[in-house]
Amino acid sequence: MIRQLAVFLENKPGRLAAVADCLAKAGINIRALSVAETKDYGVVRFILNEPEKAKEALLKEGYAVIETEVLAVDVPDKPGGLASVTSLLAKEGINIEYCYASVIRLKESAILILQVDDKERASALLKEAGIRLLTQDDVKAI
C-alpha cells in the first residue's frame, strides 16, 4: 500500500495552480493525480515521489491535507488489463470507492491507483492472482 495525499479546494480559477506551484517549489514530482469536483468544491488526490516532504510543504501553506493509504496496481497495458483487476474484486464483493491511472507508464504496464472498502483483502487477492502491487519505494524510484 502507498500513501496518497488529497487536498480540499474550492472550485474556482487558480486554486489547482496554487497547489501545483507549492509542490513545484518543494521539488516534488507528481506520479499520479485525480480531480473530483462538484459545482463549488473539489478534492485533488496525489501520488507523489516524496509524500512526507510534500505534506510538510502543503501544510506550511495552510492547505488541509488528507492522508490515506491506497493500492497501486501494476496493470498489463493491453485490452482487458483493467478488467482483470476489477472483475476479480467484483467477484469477491469488494467495492471500489474510486480509482485513477498514473501519469507514468511502465514498459508494458500502467499503474492504477485504487481505493477500496477492504484494502487488506483486496491486496491479498490481487497478489494471489499474480498481480503486482507497487510499494512506496517503487513509486519513489519510478
Binding site: T38, D40, A64, T68
Partner: protein
C-alpha cells in the same frame, strides 16, 4: 368618524396621553401581579407599581429584550393560565430555536383591530378583493392580514407565499384589488408577470401593502411603476403582536403607530437614554393592553425615528419612519428574520465544520433574496471521498433549512479562506442595496 376605522385614531394628543397613562398604570400593575419575571425585576430595582402615575413615568421602568424571551423558552413568561391562550405564533430566536408568542382571545381581537385599521387607512373596504401572499402558519404575516381583512369584510384570497405564476393567474382571473406581501416578493411578481406577458395597468390591482422587511423609497417607486398601484409600508413584530404595530395611510408619509395600544419610544441603543422626537435611534415598544404576554419597554433593535407632527389625514398618532437599520446583527431574508447566532448554533450542533463561516445575502435585480453560507470544513471531517463531503454538506443544509425556515445554499470552503478579524470571522456580507446611503455611510 367614518374616515377612521377606530375612534382612537382621531383622539386629540391630550386625550391620547390620558388614555396611555391610565393603560400604563394598569399594565404595570398587571405584570407585577401576574408575572414573577417582572415582579423580580421591578423589586430588584426598587420600583413599585404605585410609582407609575402617568405615561411620562415609563422611563423609570426597565427594558425587556429578546434575550429575556429566549431565556424563558418556551412559555415561562405567560401572564395567564394556558387555558386562556388561544393561539401561538413564532418568530426567530437568537439560537437554533424559535421563540413562541402566546395570544388570548382578546389579544387576537386587538391584533385584528390594529390590522383592520392598517388596511382601512390604505383604502381597503368590504368590496375589495384582497390577496394575501404572506406565508400562513407560525409566521405572523399571513394570519395577521387575514384577521384584519376579515374584520373589514373584504373578500380574502389566502394565497400564502410561493407559486408565483399561480399568484398572478389568480390576480388576473379573480380581479384582485389589494395585494399583501413582502416588497421584494412584489418586485419578483412584477418580473414574473412581465415574463407571462401580463399588463399590470389593465388589472384591477389598486394598492399593495408591503412589510416584514426593510425597503427604500426607490423600491416603492419601482413597485408602483411596475404594478400600477399605491405601495404602502407596514410595520410590526411578532413579540409585540405581528403586523399592525404601525402602518401608512395613502399619504405615504410615515407609518401611524397605534399608540393607544403600543407605546413607542426612541432610545440611544448604546446608553438606553431617551431621544427627542425626530432623532434616529432604537424603537422601544410597550404593549399597553396585551394579556398573554405583555411586554414593558421591549427593545425592537430596529433603528428609525418618530415624527410627532399630525398627518394630513387627521390621525393624531405619531408616525414611524422607515426602518433604516438594526441595532444588532439580525438580517431579514425574504421576510424571515435570521440571526448569525442561530446559524452558528446549528453548525455547532451538526458538527463537521470549523467555527468560521460567512453569510452572503444577495438579491439580483427582480429576483428573490438568496442566503448563501460558506463554511470551512473542520480538519477531522475532511475526506478524500466526495460522497462523505456531499453528505456533510446536505446534512448541514437540511438542518439549517429546518431551523431557519428558509432555503440555504451552503458551500464548503477551504481552510483559512474566510477572512478573520481578531480571530473571529466577519460574518455577514449583505450585497442587497436596501438602505439608502447618505454621504457614503452604510449600515
Amino acid at each position: 368618524m367614518n374616515q377612521f376605522y377606530s375612534e382612537e385614531e382621531g383622539l386629540s394628543r391630550e386625550e391620547l396621553k390620558n388614555l396611555q397613562s391610565g393603560r400604563l398604570k394598569a399594565i404595570v400593575n398587571y405584570v407585577y401581579e401576574r408575572m414573577p419575571f417582572y415582579r423580580k425585576r421591578f423589586d430588584s430595582l426598587g420600583i413599585k407599581p404605585e410609582d407609575i402615575k402617568d405615561i411620562s413615568d415609563i422611563k423609570k421602568l426597565p427594558f425587556t429584550t429578546k434575550q429575556d424571551i429566549v431565556d424563558n423558552y418556551p412559555l415561562k413568561l405567560l401572564a395567564v393560565p394556558m387555558k386562556e391562550v388561544v393561539r401561538l405564533q413564532s418568530s426567530s430566536g437568537t439560537t437554533g430555536k424559535n421563540i413562541f408568542i402566546p395570544y388570548t382571545k382578546n389579544d387576537i381581537e386587538l391584533w385584528s383591530d390594529v390590522m383592520a385599521r392598517s388596511l382601512w387607512e390604505a383604502g381597503v373596504r368590504e368590496d375589495d378583493i384582497i390577496q394575501i401572499s404572506y406565508g400562513y402558519g407560525l409566521f405572523t404575516g399571513g394570519l395577521g392580514f387575514h384577521q384584519g381583512a376579515e374584520k373589514i369584510g373584504a373578500t380574502i384570497i389566502p394565497a400564502s407565499s410561493g407559486n408565483t405564476r399561480r399568484q398572478i393567474q389568480i390576480m388576473q382571473d379573480l380581479g384582485t384589488t389589494i395585494i399583501c406581501c413582502t416588497p421584494s416578493y412584489a418586485l419578483y411578481m412584477a418580473e414574473v408577470g412581465n415574463e407571462m406577458g401580463v399588463d399590470f395597468a389593465s388589472l384591477s390591482l389598486r394598492v399593495g401593502i408591503f412589510g416584514a422587511e426593510p425597503w427604500s423609497e426607490e423600491m416603492r417607486k419601482e413597485i408602483e411603476k411596475k404594478m400600477h398601484i399605491d405601495a404602502i409600508n407596514i410595520y410590526g413584530l411578532c413579540e409585540i403582536i405581528g403586523p399592525g404595530v404601525a402602518s401608512e395611510c395613502l399619504h405615504k408619509e410615515g407609518m401611524h403607530i397605534n399608540e393607544d395600544v403600543f407605546y413607542p419610544e426612541i432610545i440611544n441603543p448604546q446608553t438606553g437614554e431617551r431621544l427627542p422626537p425626530g432623532e434616529k435611534g432604537e424603537l422601544v415598544l410597550t404593549t399597553l393592553t396585551k394579556e398573554a404576554l405583555p411586554l414593558i419597554r421591549y427593545r425592537t433593535r430596529d433603528i428609525c425615528s418618530i415624527n410627532p407632527e399630525p398627518c394630513k389625514c387627521g390621525r393624531s398618532f405619531s408616525r414611524l419612519s422607515r426602518i433604516e437599520g438594526r441595532a444588532d446583527d439580525m438580517i431579514i431574508v425574504r421576510g424571515i428574520n435570521v440571526f448569525p447566532s442561530q446559524i452558528e448554533s446549528v453548525l455547532l450542533s451538526v458538527g463537521g465544520v470549523a467555527p468560521y463561516y460567512e453569510i452572503i445575502v444577495d438579491r439580483e435585480k427582480g429576483r428573490l433574496d438568496t442566503l448563501e453560507l460558506r463554511v470551512e470544513v473542520s480538519e477531522s471531517f475532511l475526506s478524500d471521498e466526495m460522497r462523505s463531503l456531499e453528505e456533510l454538506r446536505q446534512r448541514l443544509e437540511e438542518a439549517l433549512e429546518s431551523a431557519l425556515d428558509i432555503s440555504v445554499n451552503l458551500t464548503l470552503a477551504e481552510q483559512g479562506s474566510i477572512p478573520r478579524s481578531e480571530g473571529k470571522a466577519k460574518r455577514v456580507i449583505d450585497k442587497r442595496e436596501i438602505f439608502q446611503r447618505k454621504g457614503g455611510e452604510r449600515k
